[in-house]
């Protein structure tokens, strides 16, 4: 498989404090990859490590098939950091010219590419304004323009829409979808789960510096299916069979809430009730939204830890 990002046990420690540990990621080219996790989970540590801002403690990583720090490949990587600031005393056009020079772009490329990115991020007519006069949202668009400059094959975007209004968010989503259609790979670090849900092909969840789940949205959704049943005549036999099938089981009066890992387990739940002599009135299947999955994963282990 042609991978845009590949990490093998990538670890970053700050002394004894864990930044991220044993990160193993395989992101194929041409995808939008969502990277999720609660604050302080290690998201930015991983992004900074991949971008050469932090040095890994151990492990390996390859971007576009080359090891971290490969200068030539950096010409094909765009990055919008989360806590970014640009040279505020420059105009937007001068800023783009400077970043284009850092990418080693020729005058001809600059002439072609700079007007294109200005237009793309919706700042046409504002390019002669100094960055310091830009609103936060406009600065975020300017940052995105800098990341788009080299026509990157791979883009790392750390909270790219946090300062944008809904229209701005839609514009950025459209740009990202368009880039994916052009075969580009996007690593998206975002707290806006609805946005991730809308455009990401695969996602990974990180918690306490470790990746706890990764896969396509469908895979993750089907990793845990919640089933609600209304029935009568619950016996100990039914209960014991249901416990064996379900990952978790809650019984409140005539209502049973069960979580299963596969769709094939759903008819088994119904069968267990019927065979045990119960009467099944209703069976509803509930798929988790990304937000519910996020909350559930973020809280996983925290509650049980709290009981002790």
């Amino acid at each position: 498989m042609d991978l845009a990002i590949e990490t093998l046990n990538l670890t970053k420690l700050y002394g004894h404090k864990v930044g991220c540990t044993d990160i193993c990621l395989r992101v194929p080219r041409g995808q939008i990859f969502g990277f999720l996790g609660p604050n302080g989970a290690g998201k930015s540590t991983l992004v900074k490590t991949l971008m050469g801002l932090l040095y890994p403690t151990s492990g390996e990583a390859r971007l576009l098939g080359k090891p971290l720090g490969d200068i030539a490949k950096r010409r094909k990587i765009g990055f919008l950091p989360e806590n970014f600031r640009y040279h505020e005393w420059l105009t937007f056009r001068q800023l783009l010219d400077f970043h284009a020079s850092l990418y080693g772009m020729s005058k001809t490329d600059k002439k072609q590419r700079i007007p294109w990115v200005i237009d793309k991020v919706g700042l046409s007519g504002r390019e002669s304004q100094k960055i310091r006069t830009y609103s936060k949202g406009m600065q975020q668009r300017a940052g995105l323009a800098c990341a788009l400059l080299p026509d990157p094959e791979l883009m790392f975007l750390d909270e790219p829409t946090s300062a944008l209004d809904p229209l701005g968010r839609r514009d950025v989503r459209n740009i990202l979808v368009e880039l994916r259609a052009g075969g580009k790979t996007i690593f998206l670090n975002s707290h806006l789960l609805s946005e991730v849900e809308m455009i990401c092909d695969t996602v990974a969840f990180i918690k306490h510096g470790t990746i706890i789940r990764q896969g396509t949205l469908d895979e993750l959704r089907s990793a845990e299916i919640n089933v609600e049943m209304r029935l009568e005549g619950i016996t100990d036999q039914i209960r014991s069979v249901l416990v064996c099938i379900a990952l978790s089981l809650t019984i409140k009066g005539n209502t049973v809430l069960a979580s299963v890992s596969r769709e094939e387990d759903i008819p088994l739940l119904a069968e267990a009730v019927i065979r045990g002599g119960g009467r099944l009135y209703e069976l509803n299947l509930k798929r988790s939204s990304l937000e519910e999955m996020f909350i559930s994963m973020a809280q996983e282990g925290e509650n049980s830890a709290g009981d002790y």
């Binding site: 801002l53 932090l54 200068i71 990055f79 950091p81 600031r85 640009y86 850092l102 940052g143 800098c146």
Partner: protein, 277 residues
């Protein structure tokens, strides 16, 4: 690296501290020029060759001393946050992931700021030199060598300040650099007193201070290059006082200053290439 040099130079030119420094430099040179003008006019009206030979060199060294002071302050202010402030603001996060090596960032900043400071110092030196030369007719030697040494002063401070900027926050770096500069200035004064009263301990203290920060030693060398007292007892007297140079720093001190620049720039490159951002 050229892009970093260009933007650093432009940024240095655009800083408010430069504008203020230019205004203060103009005020200083205006006052200084007025002083030189009236001294020269009075001595022309009432000629006194011996007094003239005593006062004119003092005026020159006074001008160069405080000129060096202004240029040195500008060097520290220009470089104190060169790396640190970009780390603090987050600008550096947009530069490091680009296809540039970390050493290019440090060297680009060094060359961009260094070029600006060297031009500023050279201009300052030329104005003082021309004021003295044209108004008083004082004959000076080795003005080009002296100008090169005058421009080396801010570059020395730049190298060590840039190095500090790779590991210290902006304010802490500023405090350390001004203390280092003070060590150099006070060390230079102590050394002059040591030569005046022939006290070896004070002389050695001054030399040690010059090794820690060789800016003042460069100034003393400039004074000697411009007014070589060899064989002229009167000129030896001219070198007395806090702005004079009673003992010429050897050429090895200049070599040391150049190596000092190279070492601290190299250390800045090393430290920056190793640190996490």
């Amino acid at each position: 690296m050229l892009a970093i040099i260009k933007i650093t130079f432009r940024e240095a030119m655009g800083r408010k501290v430069v504008l203020i420094s230019l205004i203060l430099a103009a005020a200083f040179l205006g006052l200084y020029g007025t002083g030189v003008h009236f001294v020269a006019r009075d001595l022309a009206r009432h000629p006194n060759p011996m007094l003239a030979q005593m006062i004119y060199p003092q005026l020159l060294s006074f001008g160069l001393y405080f000129g060096g002071f202004i240029v040195s302050f500008l060097a520290i202010f220009s470089a104190v946050g060169a790396i640190a402030s970009e780390i603090e603001s987050g600008i550096i996060q947009t530069i490091i992931p680009k296809p540039v090596r970390r050493y290019e960032i440090v060297l680009g900043k060094f060359l961009g700021t260094g070029l600006f400071l060297a031009l500023y110092a050279a201009l300052f030196f030329m104005i003082i030199y021309l004021l003295i030369n044209l108004k008083t007719g004082l004959e000076l030697t080795g003005q080009w060598n002296a100008m090169a040494l005058f421009t080396l002063q801010p570059v020395v401070l730049l190298a060590v300040t840039l190095c500090g900027s790779t590991m210290l926050p902006t304010i802490a770096n500023g405090v350390v650099m001004f203390m280092l500069y003070a060590v150099s200035v006070i060390g230079g004064m102590v050394e002059q007193i040591g030569w005046l009263i022939n006290n070896a301990a004070l002389q050695h203290t001054g030399i040690l201070a010059s090794l820690i920060m060789p800016v003042d030693a460069l100034y003393r060398k400039i004074v000697h290059v411009l007014m070589n007292p060899a064989g002229d007892p009167l000129q030896a007297i001219q070198q007395m006082g806090p702005f004079g140079s009673m003992s010429e720093p050897s050429v090895w001190m200049v070599v040391y200053a150049v190596l000092y620049v190279v070492s601290f720039t190299g250390l800045a490159v090393y430290l920056f290439s190793k640190r996490d951002i």
